[in-house]
């Protein structure tokens, strides 16, 4: 047993070191390897734990179940990890969050069924109920988030009357039932009702959240899956689960805060606000915008005279699968001796850091990817800001128009650049459903069309120059 606990400490140290090495892209891959080594150590130590063997050396745990389970899980996990598209990463993380929460809830349930007629104190049933509650709502909430991201369920907020009251009632009844279970654990029906109620709560908490807020929800569910693991750690008095769960819980919470800050929203507003669907009206009447539409040939002239170019990719770029075309244009411009940087807004993708992964996939070196704080001072002496499929995150109304729904949201100050070139498919407003005054600015020109076609056209026009 001593050696098992020592191995758990080693595993936990590996996790901490692994995350620490994620502080730089150079060391990150090695860090991930160290973290997976830590997991292997923890698993082997558990399998070899002397407590799992009887005095005659016969195993008390079912190596058959364990072996088959690990084989099935490895095959599914391995295939998903290889096949998944980078644009679908949020969906995959959502599902994995759910499975993590589900595993914790199952383990706590197993413990309940083995101990319910012999609880010695209230600590064990309390932790079991907490673990089941958090784990189960993570499972169902994650599947709803997955459905919204994949388009199986409408991205619009789904609301019904007195939704928050309903959620509050469910939560209160779960705690009431939990109290009854502690008083009378042998009544298994109560436990099943808690399970079902937690499953419903996960659904009703997630359906009112709009598609645009999914980055926050995924981060939050990520945090829950960690908290569920930690709660299960308390059930089993197992340090490996407690430490790892705490790390993941903290990580998810930090990312949740970063996402909320990126949208200038409070967590309560995201969870209970039911926005991000079709916001009608917005800031009063849509102003008349005086738009200048250019062809790619004309745009090439502007690029030719420029020295410093900042490319601002939005999610529309990824949807159009135009990352590679953007990289080709960027490389061409660099060959002409120009400086090219990429400005990445915190909520540019569908999950934290998503856009960076999509650009890395297109072989854009990470040194060129700049986050909000790094890039904003650069716009002052920037000749051309090229906006590809981004909208709300470059809307200057966020800085000055108090009536705008996005007022106060940190934005990329692209309007400070000498010339702003905006590529859009059409004049449709962005996620927040509001018109962007940037498009009517004197230094803004619009090049309409599909991002990939436009970039390819731009490249061939460059080469003809």
């Amino acid at each position: 047993m001593e050696f098992t606990n020592i191995a758990y400490v080693v595993g936990a140290v590996c996790f901490i070191l692994g995350i620490k090495m994620l502080s730089h892209p150079r060391t990150a891959r090695k860090g991930n390897g160290i973290a997976s080594l830590g997991m292997l150590i923890a698993i082997i130590a558990t399998l070899l734990n002397p407590e799992n063997f009887g005095p005659d050396g016969k195993p008390l745990i079912s190596f058959q179940y364990i072996g088959i389970g690990i084989i099935i899980g490895t095959i599914i996990g391995g295939i998903v990890a290889q096949k998944i598209e980078m644009t679908q990463m949020p969906q995959m993380v959502a599902i994995f969050n759910g499975l993590g929460g589900g595993a914790s809830a199952l383990v706590a349930s197993a413990e309940f069924f083995s101990e319910y007629n012999q609880f010695e104190n209230t600590f064990l049933p309390v932790t079991i109920i907490l673990s089941v509650l958090i784990g189960t709502l993570t499972l169902t909430g994650s599947f709803i988030a997955f459905g919204k991201l994949q388009g199986f369920i409408s991205g619009k907020p789904i609301v019904f009357p007195a939704q928050q009251l309903f959620n509050a009632l469910i939560l209160v009844s779960i705690f009431a039932l939990g109290y009854l279970i502690i008083m009378n654990p042998v009544d298994l029906k109560l436990f099943y009702v808690v399970l079902i109620a937690a499953a419903i709560l996960g659904i009703t908490l997630t359906i009112p959240i709009g598609g645009a807020d999914m980055p926050v929800v995924i981060s939050l569910l990520n945090s829950y899956s960690g908290i569920a693991a930690a709660a299960t750690g308390f059930v089993l008095m197992n340090n490996a689960l407690i430490i790892s769960g705490a790390l993941v819980g903290a990580s998810g919470l930090i990312l949740t805060q970063i996402m909320c800050k990126g949208m200038n929203r409070s967590l309560q507003n995201v969870i209970f606000g039911a926005v991000g669907g079709d916001v009608s009206g917005g800031s009063g009447e849509a102003q008349e915008l005086n738009i200048k539409s250019y062809s790619t040939e004309e745009a090439v002239m502007i690029f030719d005279a420029a020295e410093k170019i900042v490319i601002v990719p939005g999610y529309g770029l990824a949807v159009a699968q135009a990352q590679h075309a953007a990289r080709e244009v960027g490389e061409w411009l660099e060959l002409q001796g120009k400086t090219v940087l990429y400005a990445i807004h915190p909520v540019a993708g569908r999950m934290p850091g998503h856009m960076n992964v999509l650009l890395a996939e297109a072989n854009i070196p990470y040194e060129q990817l700049k986050d909000l704080d790094e890039i904003n001072p650069e716009f002052e002496d920037c000749d051309v800001a090229l906006i590809l499929g981004a909208n709300d995150v470059v809307n200057p109304a966020a800085r000055h128009d108090k009536s705008s729904p996005i007022f106060g949201m940190p934005i990329l100050n692209v309007d400070k650049a000498r010339t702003v070139i905006v590529n859009k498919r059409s004049m449709n407003p962005g996620f927040a459903g509001i018109q962007n005054e940037l498009f009517g600015y004197d230094n803004t020109i619009m090049v309409f069309g599909d991002a990939k076609d436009m970039l390819n056209q731009l490249l061939s026009d460059f080469k003809e120059l």
């Binding site: 620490k20 892209p25 599914i76 990890a81 993380v93 383990v107 990520n222 850091g353």
Partner: protein, 88 residues
Amino acid sequence: MIDIFTVFILAIFVGNEIINKVPPTLHTPLMSGSNAISGIAIVGAIIATKVGGEIGSWLGFIAIIFATINVVGGFLVTDRMLKMFKKR
């Protein structure tokens, strides 16, 4: 009992310190990697195949599948992503 609470609280603080140092560029790998770490529930799942007799073993079995998908899928996909982050 107080020991494991101490461990829990300290782990949260350590987590806060190191995660705040992860740059936004690597937030997606951080998330999928920490996801894999939350698959540590597999340790509990292994123990669960012992505790509960028939029901417990089945619940443990399903939990092992879930957690293994999490661990294997999470670490592999994180590696796949991090491989793409290249220097100039």
